[in-house]
Symmetry: C2
Subunit: 132 residues, 2 copies
């Protein structure tokens, strides 16, 4: 009788644990990657580049919601499938879509756009939510 | 005389430190972000998706050179500048271009391509090296 009680207790405990784990999995925020490519109107204009970089780094260095950040330029790699026509790549990660939504509305973001939008001719954004 | 000696010593020390700092900066490897978008031929085919995801995650979970990884699908965001037509986004970071070059040549990478290339109709790659 004591053994049966022990077995039932263990089964109940295991069941609760797996339910809790499933809930944790389903409620776990999905990492959000926000990738932005900028094509400047005059990519060879060093003064325009310096202005853009200063404005953007001031923003991303002070945003409250960014998890990790990367600001880069086309790498030296060159294959048929690679697009290296852009001027700048901004790749940001956020803990969740909610954080990215807040980042979009930050005052510093609006300042950056106001300061720099006259410098670019095209912006292309890819937003992705993790499935891992 | 002793004061002069002290000043010269301090100037020399400062000069050495700034030279060392400049060398450190210039030799520091630049973070490399490798962003790949896949458009599957049949994005609604759940069996094709499962096969692709299994093949790709087996590779990226076992690569020796990846620093951070993100595999995702289009987020719910939707603005004019956002391209959400792709099926999968793979965003990988590497400590350097050299690491990414080694990743390209990994056996597991070649296995993934062989297993999965019949599933996609288009691949688009953006490689970026950090300027921060």
């Amino acid at each position: 009788m004591r053994k049966l009680f022990l077995i039932i207790t263990l089964i109940s405990l295991f069941s609760n644990l797996t339910t809790a784990f499933a809930q944790e999995q389903s409620s776990k925020p999905k990492q959000f990657v926000h990738t932005v490519f900028f094509w400047l109107k005059n990519p060879d204009d060093q003064s325009a580049r310096a202005s853009f970089e200063k404005s953007l780094t001031t923003f991303i260095n002070n945003s409250k919601f960014i998890q990790t950040k990367h600001l880069g330029v086309p790498a030296a790699t060159n294959r048929d499938v690679i697009d290296r026509s852009y001027t700048y790549c901004l790749s940001l990660t956020f803990r969740s879509k909610a954080d990215q939504d807040k980042y979009q509305a930050e005052d510093l973001h609006l300042v950056f756009i106001k300061e720099s939008e006259s410098l670019w001719k095209k912006v292309l954004v890819y937003d992705s939510e993790s499935i891992l």
